[in-house]
Amino acid sequence: MPGRGVAWRRAAGPAVFVLCLVPLAVLLARGAAGGLGANPIEALTRGLGDWALRLLVLTLALTPVRRLTGWTALARFRRMLGLFAFFYAALHVTSYVALDQFFDWRAIGLDIVKRRYMTVGMVAFALLLPLALTSTGAMIRRLGAARWKRLHRLVYVAGAAAVLHYFFMVKADVREPLIYGAVVAVLLAARIGGR
């Protein structure tokens, strides 16, 4: 049965791709059905931010988990998950700009300058942007593997900034941001220790 493993591996890529789109589909469907509660814009923006952070953490987890388990196939999904994290982060920012602030650029600018959770959030997004742009094979070749790798270590800074953004945003109940923070810290420690 030589074909079976190959077929699985072929199906896995598209399956993960579709799986990553499920949260977006659910948010949009709930929004269309009026199922996002009394403040749907806030619910949509936060939902997109939640998934950006989850996918970012998942991306960071792939290499440590691969080393721990020896499951090498995981490495194939690193780029896709990273790009989906960026995709949800971009939608999160778009929802804030277009729906929450309705393109009030002055208010947006002041928010970014004056509110530390906004400042840190924008830093996280700005750090993800060059990583998404240099994610192609052609860009890896152009930059050279060593320089590319150094650049992409920024993902840890972006992950930490994203958690800090969440931590600064909540008023009193910091339990969830602390859980994300602990997970990112463990993943970072695993990378530093395991190199």
């Binding site: 009394a38 403040n39 814009i41 806030e42 009030d104 002041l110 509110r115 009193a172």
Partner: protein
């Protein structure tokens, strides 16, 4: 029946309850009799008058959908997500309920909530509610002016501030098992704020008894201050000499001042306060000084630096 008083928020005869609200009123009384135990309600308390407060919501400000006002709440005693209070507040058991009034009063005492309210005329007041988080609602409350209630306990000269406390009972308020805030929830007003005719002790909304998640059976409504000042499910009212501590003030003194008047020119560190999103509306709109009640309350703060006393 027309009721008059020197209360500036009292309705003009033209503003007396329209038919639809009258029907709502009947619904409230029916529900109120059951839930508040107002079975022996004297005629006076069975009248709900509608006060369209000057400076209150403009005609265009329709009340927020009831489902939103009862399904999107900050009431950390039942969880920190907005949907948590509606889901979890069934454990509250607001009946029977006793409120203790004490401190600098000649006649302190603990009264059942129905005895606290019964001697007064219930009024319906449509007030704007502005949350410190940048969203707002318009809510038809039913209640009595706090000052009329406090007057019965005869405040003495030492009563400079009023301190309020929510119930402390982790069995009935499961959110209190986590120390997200200092429990019980505490709030406070200066005595002149407490005695202001706009300040309401509410027992109902939308023509019915307060739902648990909105602060049953009795809560404060101070419409010119951010919503967290309007403490819910009150069990203790103390008239005191010194400015009392507040839960959010203790949690983050730089963010939640004692006054916390709605003020579009003084930003919260986390949010600009210049605009607000009315719940149910796509666009934000400008926030008004003192939430639109400046004509009535600005005088309370004459000479104060509202940047410092935020």
């Amino acid at each position: 029946m027309i009721l008059r008083s020197d209360d500036p928020s009292a309705p003009k005869p033209s503003e007396i309850t329209p038919k639809a609200l009258y029907l709502d009123r009947r619904r409230f009384i029916a529900a109120g009799v059951a839930a508040l135990g107002l079975s022996a309600v004297p005629a006076k308390a069975a009248v709900v008058i509608r006060s369209t407060v000057p400076g209150g919501p403009a005609v265009a400000d329709k009340p927020t959908a009831r489902d939103s006002a009862t399904g999107y709440n900050n009431f950390y005693e039942f969880g920190t997500d907005k949907e948590d209070p509606q889901r979890n507040a069934h454990t509250l058991r607001p009946d029977p309920w006793s409120v203790r009034v004490e401190g600098a009063v000649a006649k302190p005492g603990a009264l059942a909530v129905e005895d606290l309210i019964r001697p007064h005329v219930l009024e319906e007041r449509v007030y704007r509610l502005r949350c410190v988080e940048g969203w707002s609602m318009v809510i038809p409350w039913i209640g009595v002016p706090l000052r009329d209630v406090l007057a019965r306990f005869e405040p003495t000269l030492g009563a400079k501030f009023v301190a309020f406390e929510t119930l402390l009972d982790p069995e009935r308020m499961p959110g209190q098992r986590r120390s997200v805030l200092e429990w019980p929830y505490r709030e406070g007003l200066r005595i002149d704020e407490a005695m202001h005719p706009l300040t309401l002790l509410a027992v109902g909304m939308y023509g019915e008894v307060l739902p648990n998640q909105n602060g049953a059976p009795v809560r404060l409504v101070v419409p010119w201050k951010y919503g967290f000042k309007s403490i819910k499910s009150i069990v203790r009212i103390s008239l005191v000499e010194a400015q009392p501590p507040t839960s959010w003030g203790r949690s983050a003194p730089g963010e939640y001042g004692f006054y916390s008047n709605v003020n579009p020119t003084v930003d919260h560190p986390r949010w600009s306060q210049a605009k607000e999103r009315p719940i149910g509306s796509f666009l934000r709109r400008d926030t008004l000084m003192f939430n639109g009640y400046a004509d009535q309350v600005a005088g309370l703060y004459a000479g104060m630096d509202l940047r410092k006393d935020f």
